[in-house]
Amino acid sequence: MFQIRIHGRGGQGVVTAAEMLSIAAFREGRHAQAFPSFGSERTGAPVVAFCRLDDKEIRLREPVLAPDALIIQDPTLLHQVDVFGGLARDGYVLINTSRSFEALGVGEIARGLRAERVCTVPATEFALKHVGRPVPNAALLGGFAAVSGRISLDSVAAAIREKFNGKVAEGNVAAASAAYDYVKNEMREAQHAQAD
Amino acid sequence: MRKPFAITLDPGSSLANHTGTWRTTRPEYVDRLPPCNGACPAGENIQGWLFHAESGDYEAAWRLLTRDNPMPAVMGRVCYHPCESQCNRARLDTAVGINSVERFLGDEAIRHGWRFEAPQARSGKRVLVVGAGPSGLSAAYHLARLGHAVSIHEAGPVAGGMMRFGIPKYRLPREVLEAEVRRILGLGVGLHLNSKVQNILETMRGGSYDAAFLAVGAHIAKRAYIPAGSAAKVLDALSVLRSMEGAEKPLLGRRVVVYGGGNTAIDVARTAKRLGAEEAVIVYRRTREKMPAHDFEVEEALQEGVLIKWLSTIRQAGDASITVEKMVLDADGFPQPTGELETLAADSVVLALGQDVDLSLLDGVPGLAKKDGVVQVGPGMMTGHPGIFAGGDMVPAERTVTVAIGHGKKAARHIDAWLRGETYVPPPKHEPATFERLNTWYYSDAPKSVSPVLDLVRRQSTFDEVVQGLDEGNAQYEARRCLSCGNCFECDNCYGVCPDNAVVKLGPGKRFRFNYDYCKGCGICVAECPCGAIKMVPEEI
């Protein structure tokens, strides 16, 4: 079973992200379970959503306490909420930012993880570019597909199209693809950096 | 439907619950005597015939009316309608115009030529009626309908009696009178005119009559002693009125003084006016309040220019003038002379001081009692002599046409019983339907419709009928103003207002019935019955 925890703020489509991720996995024939950290949070308040992926039925209903992957939609949460809580040593981290881990002040944590599994992506920029609104969730799923390899970009695109339609869907698909390429490229550079 | 137990029930099943057991008092339908019926001297079932008139069935109304009174057209003109003065509606707005509806029905009957049904069976008895006045005609009519052979002996040249000789044309057109007399004769009643009965017993024996009804009326004018000059022209009211029926009219002159305060005085004064008198002055010794003449007639007379000199007596009559003395009423309301004299111009003086009865035909009849110039009769109108009955003006009673007609009916019923060797027992009267018993809310306000009145000029110059009849609309309107006091008229109120549906409607004409299985005795039906035809009576426990 592979567990993802998504952190963000109300209005950033955190819950939708988890749902789309589950849909993407479903389309690949796997079992998936997505659910929010239920609450009555309003726009701007910290929000957490969860997603579990497995090849057999998922019965577990507890929140994701030890995530295999973290998607952080809003870096300002890094020092406000214990976002890294329970993260496995070999877990994945994807942060929506154009800055570095150091610049974000989480360099130490990042260094404690496997380099090829931690990544940043300016998802909001991609969203603004392709969707016209600062909703980074779809783009981040593209990035997640790239960094984790647990889900295909096609499935993500299909999930996006199931949730949205028309221009909004295509915009988000474009943003996701852009983020996917960005992350792939980042990872390649990181490998070279290591190789050097 | 497999209905759930207890919570779901079949419709109307509460009929099993007889709530009548709660009752401590029960409503009962009653019939009460309406004041109009109670007050009618002719004993008409006024409310009854109004009920038919309301729905426009005038013939039914007329037939019911004529069960008691054969002359509605006459009655509708000359009756002083005591019924109206008793009418409960007067307490609401104005009395129902019963008299005018009666006249309408009478005129309808004449117009359509409705006739009385002939009697089912003949009794084989013969009855003599003496006098073709209202009382005699009434008796003859009723006796004939009861199957007896009746013949009337009338002293005068025509039938009608006082209706003809005492009441002026302008109040009772003669063709109306004749039409109704003719209808009575149509029943096979024999009428012998100009045949004065000199001795009743002989006449009866001669005609082998089984019984007789005497109604010769009162035709002898009362005289009062008035010192009069040789040239003074002093007449009596009756002869004046009678001569109006003859060829040449009486010569009364330009200024006529009438002495008296009864209806006859008024009639004469109004007649004088019509004969061209410039002045018609009634001299009466008391006040208007005390005047026996009916107010509406006085009113009409005054309208027509008749003058009335109150509190005056005639001391002396000269050739062109009379002397009157002023009177005052003493503590007991009796006029006392003042000695104060006054002279009035007068070409003639007409005395209208009442009439006496000519009782000569009764001379030598055994067992007969006379008193104050009239014949004494028992409760059944029979004189002291078996088989001889009497009524009208010749017996002690108010002298009106209606009373006379009532006598005729009453006597006829007793004669009929007597002929069968029985005594007639009138059905018990219902208790009176008083105003207090009515719930007047349910009657919408509707003041009396005034009958059209002939304009003054024509009234003063001609003998055309003064009061005209109602048209059908008004007659029905008037009939429908009846409150039906004391008798159910099927307004459905009780049926509608019962909270327990405990009133059963039996259909048109059949009225209603209480279903005591469910009547809880709340009494709403009694409170909301417009005409007071329901009463509450305690249940016996």
Binding site: - | A6, I7, L9, D10, P11, G12, S13, S14, L15, A16, N17, H18, T19, W22, E54, S55, W441, Y442, Y443, S444, D445, A446, S449, V450, P452, D471, G473, N474, Q476, Y477, R480, R481, L483, S484, F489, E490, C491, D492, N493, Y495, G496, V497, P499, D500, N501, A502, K505, G507, P508, N515, Y518, K520, G521, C522, G523, I524, V526, A527, E528, P530
Partner: protein, 335 residues
């Protein structure tokens, strides 16, 4: 002389029936074939105004709908006295659910009829003043606001009679009830602001609102008929005296209702889409004492000395009605 049109002065237009009227002009209650929707054998008190009003209204509604009628009933006297197991007095399909939900139950029935394509079947909801103005008000307001196709009839006897005459928001000022006893400095019910239910109904802008009393049957029937000619939410507020709760003689039920109207205490009118379209004029205006005096619940106003001030205030309320609804003709009363 001017010819007067023939009217039925004897039976007037005030009686239930009239043998002189044509069949089609007769009232439902005068009809031998009337449905007696509320049948004999019910356990209402002697002279119950509510039993009377209910039969009038439902019979009229049944006639107007050719008997395609379903009734919902709030808890209260009417429900208790009409359907104690094992007997019911109703001859219409009828349901009682709760005290406060009758309007909603009716909404549900109407919805079911709509979905089943039975537009011919109409729905009435009925309740007392408690079930209408107090506990059922929320549901009723919702029914009005959605303009559901229901005729709601309130039988107003001004208190919770079923439970033993406790005050409701329809209880008139100064009236004695079990919870507003005639004791203390201001005996009886308080002079509150009142809760003018018909006006509240009108404020919802529903197609039809009317008031009526058991004293004027023809008027009541006409209003039910009129109500049935509309689709959507309709409201009729019927004034029904209660001999037990008001302390008047059983036979005076109709008389008291008549007095309420003739004094102006209870204005009788019709409104369409929130606008008053007709009023029943006062026929013979009377002072409020005439209405108050026969009722024991107001007896304390006529002690020694009488509470003239309280009576004056009640008269003021009546006069306000007369002004507000124009209950008097120019000449003061109508024939």
């Amino acid at each position: 002389m001017s010819f007067q049109p023939v009217k039925f002065y004897q039976t007037g237009t005030f009686t239930v029936g009239n043998r002189l009227l044509a069949e089609n002009e007769r009232s439902v209650q005068a009809n031998m074939q009337r449905t007696n929707s509320l049948n004999s054998g019910h356990r209402a008190c002697q002279g119950c105004g509510e039993a009377l009003g209910a039969r009038y209204a439902i019979d009229a509604a049944m006639q107007a709908t050719n008997r395609q009628l379903i009734a919902a009933n709030a808890t209260g006297c009417l429900e208790v006295f009409s359907t104690p197991y094992p007997e019911t007095s109703w001859q219409v399909p009828w349901i009682h659910s709760l005290f406060g939900n009758t309007a909603s139950v009716a909404t549900g029935i109407a919805a079911a009829m709509r979905v089943k394509g039975r537009s011919d079947v109409r729905v009435v909801a009925q309740g007392g003043d408690g079930g209408t103005t107090d506990i059922g008000f929320g549901c009723l307001s919702g029914m009005f606001e959605r303009n559901d196709d229901v005729l709601y009839i309130c039988y107003d006897n001004g208190a919770y009679m079923n439970t033993g005459v406790q005050r409701s928001s329809a209880t008139p000022p100064a009236a004695r009830t079990a919870t507003t006893m005639a004791v203390g400095a201001e005996p009886g019910n308080v002079f509150g602001q009142g809760k003018d239910m018909p006006a509240l109904a009108m404020a919802h802008g529903i197609p039809y609102v009317a008031t009526a009393t058991v004293a004027e049957l023809r008027d009541l029937e006409a209003k039910v008929r009129r109500a049935m000619s509309f689709r959507g939410a309709r409201y009729i507020h019927i004034f029904v005296p209660c001999p037990l709760g008001w302390g008047h003689a059983a036979q005076d039920t109709i008389r008291i209702a008549r007095l309420a109207k003739e004094t102006g205490v209870f204005p009788v009118f019709e409104a369409e889409n929130g606008e008053v379209v007709s009023v029943s004029k006062i026929r013979r205006k009377l002072p409020v004492e005439e209405y108050l005096r026969p009722q024991k619940r107001f007896a304390h106003l006529f002690g020694k000395p009488p509470s003239t001030e309280v009576i004056r205030r009640i008269q003021e309320l009546a006069d306000r009605n007369i002004r507000r609804y124009g209950l008097l003709d120019a000449q003061g009363a109508t024939p």
